[in-house]
Structures are given as C-alpha cells and as structure tokens.
C-alpha cells in the first residue's frame, strides 16, 4: 500500500497516461445525467459527481450481450474480447458490490467466463466519498465511504488534488508504470484534510439498524406485512436494474434471417413472467410476493448462501423508485418482527 499525491492540474495527464495502456471508463455528464462511459478526452471525466445513475455492474454484466452464435450445427461461444480497461472514479459501495457479484459468477468452481473474463481485464480505481447522499447507508451494511474492498486503487479528493492509494498488486503495478513520474509526496495537511473529510462523511451517513432484519425476514415470511409494503409497487424493473448487486438474467435465442444467436440479458423477479410456470401457475401472483422475494434475496438468502448481505447501501432504489418504495423503511419494519 502506497500513497502519493496527484494534483488536479495533472489529472488530464494521468488519464492520458492510462489511455496509453488501457481504455478508461469513468463518470461523465450526458444530457444532465451522470453515466459511465468511455473517456476519450480527459476533460469529459467528472470526478466531482455524486453517484452514477446506473451501477457499474453493467461494465462486467452488461444489460445484454451475445453469448454465442450458430455456425452450421454448432453453437460457437462469443467470449468478450476487449482491451484492458480502468474503471476510474466509481464509488466504494459499487466496488464492494462487484465483490458480491464475484461470489455469484464464480462459485464452487463454476466460472462464468462472460463476467469473469471482463473482471480480469479491468482495474478498479475508486473515488472515496466526501458527501454521502441522504439516501446512502453504506456503513449500516458493513461498508464505508473509504471501504477498500473491490478497489485496486483508491482516490481521495483533497484541496486541489487527490491522494492516490494503491490497494492491490494490480493497482500498484499500474500506478508505478504510468504515473510514477508525476505523482508526488503527500503533504501532512492533505492527510489531515482527508481524515477530516472521512470523519465528516461517516457522521453524515444515516444509520439504519439491520441487527434484526435477517431473523425478522425469516420469521415474517407469511406474516402479511408485504401486502402493505408492496401496495404502491408498480411492478417495473427499476429497483433491480439500478441495483449494483442484482444479477438475475434471462437467456434467449434470437433467430434472424437464417442465423441465430444466443443472448443473455437482465431479468428481474419484479416482472410477472419471472416465475410464471408453463402450466399457467403463478407462484408469486402479486407485488407483495415479488417484493418479498427481492428483499429476502438480498438480506436473507444471500446471507444463507454467501454469508454476505447483498446490499451496499447505495440508495439508488430509494431515489429511482417511481412509486416511492423505500427499502430503509422495509428494513425497519421487518427488523422489528420478533
């Protein structure tokens, strides 16, 4: 672990140095929304943003991708072929979410090459948080504004500069290679400023009590709270699609003009079709059952399966739900179930 200083004025130079080796993906403004995009010109990179609208999972687990195509009578795999890349400036909560997706996509020796190949090709440089949003609750789910899990390198904004901390071997190697020449020592005052910023961010973060939620969810499965919780739910896929840990997918074959390809795309338990049986039976007939499924998958079943709560407290579902459902309230309600 090493820490060096990158002055603001040198950020374009830093980006260009990275671009010699790798593609750089980072937060940028597109028509008033912050999106993750390929940075071509360094001045498009925005390191003063709050939160990317969609999560970075789409870089490794895209909204849709071609898995393979038919040649003659064989299905030929189309594995991702890409240049190495850097994910520069994502939030620690999103990086931590990637470590959860890692548990899903490479599990007990079963390796999903579409996801894992991309992960191996990518280096994650996070930007620690100074101004958590009112909807952020990372510390309540075991995270932090400067949580290193999932980061190869972490940046901390200080006055007119960034402290660059290398976290993993991959990260150290890259920083030494491309930026060793113009990164400097970190003055004491910046270390103090950083410590204060982290302290302030921690204080600002809303604290939610999750201590009873796993047992409350298990005990409350049939207790009837879910109808009221899910009454406003419109049944769209917004919450799952903006969530950095939701990972359900569908696989479909598309036949077109004599060729065929196999496609993987996002799916969500919030859609009616998700568990609709061929027989016509629907085991999750209403938003109540479907909302229960989503919350339990993240806060109960993931704990059983992976010993992790699959929620990083990013708050996207709270901000984007068109019907105002608020998982923080659901947690409070179900946590109180004896």
């Amino acid at each position: 672990m090493q820490e060096r200083l990158l002055e603001r004025k040198d950020v374009p130079r830093f980006v260009e140095a990275l671009q010699q080796e790798l593609d750089v993906l980072g937060p940028m403004d597109r028509g008033g929304e912050i999106v993750l995009g390929r940075i071509l010109s360094p001045d498009r990179l925005d390191l003063d943003y709050h939160q990317i609208g969609l999560s970075p999972k789409e870089v490794f687990f895209p909204r849709w991708e071609t898995m393979g195509h038919v040649e003659g009578d064989r299905l030929v795999e189309d594995l991702p072929k890409q240049r190495g890349f850097v994910l520069l400036g994502i939030r620690p909560c999103d990086a931590r979410a990637l470590t959860f997706l890692d548990l899903v996509f490479e599990w007990r020796g079963i390796r999903d090459p579409y996801y894992v190949d991309r992960r191996e090709n990518g280096i994650v440089m996070t930007l620690a948080c100074r101004h958590p949003m009112s909807t952020c609750f990372c510390t309540s789910v075991g995270g932090a504004p400067d949580d290193e899990r999932g980061s190869d390198v972490m940046l901390f904004a200080v006055p007119e500069a960034f402290v660059v901390r290398t976290v993993s071997e991959k990260g150290t190697e890259l920083i030494d290679k491309v930026a060793g020449a113009f990164l400097g020592e970190v003055p004491r005052r910046h270390l103090d400023a950083r410590a204060e910023a982290i302290r302030a961010a921690n204080e600002r973060l809303e604290k939610i009590d999750l201590s009873g939620v796993k047992s409350g969810l298990d005990a409350g499965f049939g207790a009837g709270h879910w109808e009221a919780i899910a009454l406003p739910c419109l049944g769209c896929g917004t919450c799952a699609y903006v969530c950095p840990t939701c990972h359900c997918f569908d696989i479909v074959d598309e036949v077109c003009e004599g060729t065929a390809r196999r496609i993987r795309c996002w799916d969500t338990c919030q859609f009616q079709l998700f568990t609709y049986h061929g027989s016509g039976h629907q085991p999750r007939p209403s938003t109540a059952e479907r909302q229960r499924q989503r919350v339990m998958h993240k806060l109960a079943y993931a704990v059983d399966n992976y010993a992790e709560t699959f929620c990083v407290g990013c708050g996207r579902c709270v901000r984007h739900c068109p019907a105002g459902l608020d998982v923080r309230e659901t947690i409070a309600l179900m946590g109180a179930v004896p």
């Binding site: 609208g53 101004h131 406003p232 769209c236 917004t238 496609i263 795309c265 799916d267």
Partner: protein
C-alpha cells in the same frame, strides 16, 4: 406551497377524514410525502386518523388511476373495496379511459377532483441545480418560487414555472373532466399555442439529425418498463413486448428492439394517451419520448377531430368506425 394548493389540501384532508370516518369508503387513494425532500408517493389511507398524511402540492405528479384496476378487482370471496381517489385534470382523463375501456367499474368509486396548476419535473429540477443533491426546501408562500438547499448548503431559488413539466405548461384540462366532488375552483386551460413546440422543433431538423436525436433518446433506455407500468392505459395482462409466441422482440435491449417497444407502446396509445407525463416522470434514466407521443396525438386529433378521453360518451378514435369519417386517404388503383 401555492396558496391554492394549500386550500385544496386542507379540504382534501377534511373530506377524506369524513368519508373514512362515516364508513362511506374503505380506502382513500391520494398522495403523501416520501422519504426524500422532493417528490411524493401514493397514500393508501384506510384509517381516518391517517388522513392528515394526505398532501396536495406541486410534487403530486403521480397518476394514481394506475392502481385502480388492481384495487377494484374483487379478490377471492372478498368484495372490492370502495375507494375515493384524488385526481388532477390529466388523471381524470385516464379515469375516463379506464371506465370507457371497461377496466374499472364506475360505481363504488368516489372521484375527488383537484384543479391543478402543474407539477414539477424532477429531472428538469436536477439539471437546473447542476446535479447537486437537494436536502431541504424552504417554505415560500409566494406561490411562484421554490427555495432549495443543496448538500453543500447552497441556496437555489427557482421560478416554479421553470420547473413544471412541459405538458403542464400547455395543459388544456387542468380541471378534471370527470369527478364526483371538485375540491377547488375550476381553472382555465393554459395557453395552447406551444402545445406541439417540442415536436415542431424536431420536425424542423433535417432527416439525419432527427434520426440521431431519436437514437440518442433510445440509447438511454434500459427497458425496465417503468414507463409502461406507470401508465394507466397500459393494462394488458401480457404486453406485446413480452410475448414469446410470436416473439416480436427479445427481452434484451438491442437498439432495434428498444425502438420497437417504444414505438409500439406509443402507437397503442393512439387516441388514448392523456398527456399526463407519468411515463417520462417514472423513467430512471431520463428518457423523454413525449414529442413522439405528441405526434401521434396530433395526428389523431387532425384526422378524427377528437381529443382523447375528455368525454365518457364517445368511443376512442381508434376503436370507432364512423361511416362519416374522412376517407380521402383511400385512392383509386392506377388504371
């Protein structure tokens, strides 16, 4: 908060308390505050003591009629609840549509109409404050301004009119066309000259630019179906976009499939869309296809002279065959 809205809100709370207390309805469907400083969310109030949670202001943009088909369906042996619903002008038109298309019964429903001065477009507000997080709103009874505080403590003073949804600025039916009780003074329609301004701006572009503009909007879409789910007129049990036999589109998000979904959905709204803006407001990524919806609205109004869902007594334009309709578009085959 606009003074007019304050009066309406007070009347609404009083009436809801009365209706629930007297047992005239089982449920009042209105708006309440949400867990964020801006916006609102649906309120399903069954206890008269909770009626005071009901609000009405410039953030009550949801079209609550979307919940009615589900709510008013009897389930098992339980009879459907008797519901009182709060509707703005645009929502009332959706109600007309749902009744005409036999998706909800008219009885057992008390329609509380609220004349509406327009609601805030939260996407637009976000852009105007440069992406800052709004943490507080300061009370401003001028009725024409909002004062917002952001996460850095900075104050933003914005004209309310600049924040309204486009559709609200050219609204022709601010007073509900259908209601049992009107909770405020009727309002005049707003200036209609600019009604198709956004559409006309696109039509003025050269063809290649128009195509790129459409592509750029579609590129933002993640096909979460928030637009469809928020729309009261989209009530099909199986949406065409989810049919597998035939599979008109995959569930993925290839550009052509996303275009097919949106164009299909908008065309299915021909003669039915009430311009409520619920679709655009629900979208998590800021997709705005309202000019294209407007094109279809304009086409239907030009061809058949009918505005969608303002009257319970006429048939929707795309359902009715009237022998008097203009048939000049049919031409003789070339000899």
């Amino acid at each position: 908060m606009r003074a007019v809205d304050r009066l309406i809100q007070d009347r609404l709370v009083a009436r809801a308390t009365e209706l629930l207390g007297a047992g005239e309805v089982d449920l009042v469907l209105g708006h309440r505050r949400r867990g964020l400083p801006l916006g609102s969310r649906p309120a399903f109030v069954s206890d008269p003591a909770q009626a005071k949670e009901l609000v009405f202001d410039e953030h009550c943009g949801l079209n609550l009629t979307v919940y009615l088909p589900r709510l008013l369906r009897p389930s098992g042996r339980k009879a459907a609840p008797r519901v009182a619903i709060v509707v703005k002008g645009c929502d009332a038109r959706s109600l007309v549509g749902l009744v005409k298309e036999r998706q909800i019964p008219r009885d057992n429903l008390i329609v509380l109409g609220v004349p509406c001065l327009g609601v805030v477009d939260l996407h637009r507000l976000q852009r105007l404050v440069g992406g800052a997080e709004i943490v507080d709103t300061m009370p401003d009874d001028s009725g024409s301004r909002v004062v917002l505080t952001d996460h850095l403590g900075r104050s933003h003073q914005l004209e309310l009119d600049a924040l309204l949804r486009d559709g609200c600025r050219t609204c022709r039916h601010p007073t509900p066309v259908m209601c049992d009780e009107l909770l405020g003074e009727p309002l005049e329609p707003r200036a209609a000259e600019a009604r198709f301004a956004a559409l006309e701006a696109i039509e003025a572009l050269p063809s290649a630019a128009r195509w790129q503009r459409f592509r750029a909007e579609i590129a933002k879409c993640i096909r979460c179906y928030a637009c469809r789910q928020a729309c009261p007129s989209c009530y099909c049990t199986t949406c065409f976009a989810e049919q597998t036999s035939p599979a008109w589109t995959t569930p993925a998000a290839q550009e052509s499939d996303v275009m097919l979904f949106h164009l299909g959905r908008l065309l299915h709204m021909a003669g039915r869309c009430t311009e409520c803006g619920a679709c655009t407001a629900a979208c998590p990524t800021g997709v705005d296809l309202s000019p294209y919806a407007a094109m279809i609205i304009r086409e239907v109004e030009d061809q058949w002279g009918k505005e969608a869902n303002v009257s319970l007594d006429d048939l929707p334009a795309m359902i009715e065959f009237n022998p008097e309709d203009d048939q000049s578009f049919m031409t003789e085959p070339q000899a």
